[in-house]
């Protein structure tokens, strides 16, 4: 069984290699690296506001804490106002200065969407303006407790691209693979050997997982280096790819060519990609989104890539695995029947 699965996999790799699918995969990854690094801005809103409330009545050299690109420094009258301003503008941060002149306490209110470098600049310049350089006087306060360090907008897109490419690449490839084999009739030649249909399909699943992992490596290593847990990343990509390939195998079994299947293929893509909206708009989180299996994949990819969101949720992975197995079994049954129908 293992031997036959392996040779089915090897066959797909050879055919994929000659069909330039590997080149295509690497090409897409490189294109997205360029897209992420150079075409997408790190932050959409460059007008980060800074709100300052100080209890110490003395001269601050405002120029010191004003940075050219970020002109918007506002002084507020009390702590409540500071909080309400911050609430209104999620991209801003606040500074609360208390204590005495000789021993000032500086608190930085962070919401999680600000530029890390910018905060450093403010921290240093404020401490400087008091003539104090000690870190002891400085305190970071994380608002909302849940988010901490900022994630650049362009990097925040990476889980989406991993979902659409590494995980869902399988969809379109499965359709073309199945149609080619139906056309060539090789699936019938296979069916008169002792080879099992599930071994044949598993060869394709493994091949598409392999392609997904290649995409993930080529894409993520240049962007994140090795500070990402690749074992976890590969696990999620592999399970996601297994799931989406199995689902597409089912869909592809009903059609004979791309044009017949175009509508289903698009619909499948749209459904599986929908959790993206919850991802981009956190307030949009209807239960129906959470039912779509790619929801779990997307948010777990985020958790792995950005340490601030929490850990990989293993129960999510188990669910995806089980769904993948169920869909794979259904597709095996369907292909067995399909071969006996023609």
């Amino acid at each position: 069984m293992i031997k036959r699965i392996f040779f089915n996999f090897l066959k797909e790799v050879k055919i994929g290699w000659r069909g330039n699918y590997f080149l295509l995969t690497v090409g897409i990854a490189v294109f997205y690296i360029v897209f992420i690094q150079f075409l997408l801005p790190g932050f959409i809103n460059q007008n980060t506001n800074v709100y300052i409330f100080t209890e110490i009545d003395f001269e601050i050299d405002y120029e010191d804490i004003r940075i050219e690109e970020f002109e918007n420094v506002f002084f507020v009258n009390d702590l409540d106002e500071l909080h309400s301003k911050l609430d209104k503008n999620r991209e801003s941060f606040g500074i609360y200065i208390s204590g005495t002149e000789s021993n000032p306490k500086v608190e930085l209110f962070i919401q999680g969407n600000e530029d890390e470098a910018l905060k450093e600049v403010y921290k240093i310049s404020i401490l400087n303006s008091f003539g104090v350089l000690s870190e002891n006087n400085f305190n970071k306060v994380y608002l909302n407790n849940k988010i901490s360090s900022p994630i650049k907008m362009n990097n925040y897109m990476v889980p989406i691209l991993l979902l659409t490419e590494a995980v869902m690449m399988g969809i379109i490839f499965v359709f073309t693979m199945i149609f080619t084999e139906k056309n060539e009739g090789t699936i019938y030649a296979y069916s008169v050997t002792p080879g099992k249909i599930f071994e044949y399909l598993l060869g394709k699943v493994l091949y598409l997982i392999f392609l997904g992992l290649i995409f993930t490596s080529v894409f993520c290593v240049p962007l994140f280096g090795f500070r990402v847990n690749y074992l976890e990343l590969f696990l999620v990509i592999a399970l996601g790819s297994f799931f989406s390939t199995s689902v597409s195998l089912i869909f592809a079994s009903f059609y004979d060519n791309i044009s017949q299947s175009l509508f289903s293929m698009l619909a499948l893509n749209l459904i599986l990609i929908a959790p993206m909206f919850s991802y981009l708009i956190p307030s949009f989180n209807p239960p129906i989104m959470r039912i779509i299996p790619t929801y779990g994949i997307l948010f777990n990819l985020r958790n792995i890539l950005f340490s601030d969101y929490g850990n990989l949720i293993y129960s999510d992975l188990l669910v995806i695995l089980l769904e993948g197995i169920v869909f794979f079994l259904i597709s095996s049954v369907l292909y067995n029947r399909m071969i006996k129908k023609k």
Binding site: R18, E184, Y188
Partner: protein, 284 residues
């Protein structure tokens, strides 16, 4: 070796039967010819016997045992050559054979030997998609032999090949018979059937019309047939008539009286003549 009883098959509920209640049995080591015009149901029968199409109605026995479900033992024991060359175009000839070879549970033939046997050793490392149709057909034939099958199904394996390659394949088939391989050979080429088959079944519109050895058929129908070609409304008509059958004798008289006869032959009948005589249909 293989016995088929009352096999029926319909592609569609509304369609007529593509296989309409056929029964036959094939002895071990025999080449059994399945002969008939296009659309007679030959390939359909082969597909049922190789598990590609389901058994809708009827029974199949292998060595006297009823086959309910084709299992690995069966697939390890059979070889199948398809009518349409179905190969991986992106893989080379050798890779095609090696891939299918890796699916069997028992030792298989070496792909290089097989390629040499069907005269494809020069093209072994060329993509099979770039083979000519005849080359692809020989590759499919070679593939069917990979597991040294006890039972071999050949669907039109010799048709469409140039004369020298046709001879090559026919020689291999004869060699296989010497090794006691049971062969189910589908063709609409009577000369091939005549040359290779121990027995032939004539199939027409899904029904078997007769089964006998080519030799017996020719003895039975042999010199007692005449082929008359005559002009009718400006067209050339051909009829094959028996010299012993009363109705046919009647017809011969009628034609000689009313039509302009071009030729009359009473030479030894070919299988083809006999087929036309028996079924009233020309072969494709």
């Amino acid at each position: 070796m293989i016995e088929v009883k009352n096999l029926f098959f319909k592609y569609n509920k509304s369609h007529e039967y593509a296989v309409d209640g056929i029964s036959f049995d094939i002895n071990e080591g025999e080449i059994f010819g399945f002969l008939g015009p296009n659309g007679a149901g030959k390939s359909t029968t082969q597909k049922i016997l190789t598990g590609i199409l389901p058994v809708q109605d009827g029974e199949i026995y292998l060595r006297k045992e009823r086959i309910e479900k084709f299992n690995n033992d069966y697939f390890n024991a059979i070889g199948v050559s398809f009518e349409q060359p179905n190969i991986y175009g992106k893989l080379t000839g050798k890779e095609n054979l090696d891939f299918f070879a890796s699916m069997y549970d028992y030792p298989v033939q070496s792909s290089s030997n097989l390629l040499k046997m069907v005269d494809l050793d020069n093209a072994a490392n060329k993509k099979a998609g770039e083979y000519s149709k005849g080359m692809q057909q020989r590759l499919v034939f070679a593939r069917s032999l990979i597991n040294r099958p006890k039972i071999l199904f050949l669907d039109e394996s010799v048709s469409g090949l140039d004369p020298s390659n046709a001879v090559l394949i026919k020689e291999i088939i004869k060699e296989l018979r010497k090794q006691n391989t049971t062969i189910f050979l589908t063709t609409h080429n009577m000369t091939v059937a005549d040359e290779l088959c121990d027995r032939v079944a004539f199939i027409n519109s899904g029904k078997i019309v007769l089964i006998d050895s080519p030799r017996n058929l020719k003895l039975r129908y042999g010199r007692k047939l005449v082929k008359i070609e005559y002009e009718n409304d400006g067209c050339l008509n051909k009829e094959i008539l028996s010299l012993v059958d009363d109705k046919d004798k009647q017809r011969i008289v009628e034609i000689t009286k009313t039509k302009l006869i071009e030729t009359i032959h009473s030479q030894e009948a070919t299988l083809e003549d006999i087929f036309i005589k028996v079924t009233g249909r020309e072969l494709g």
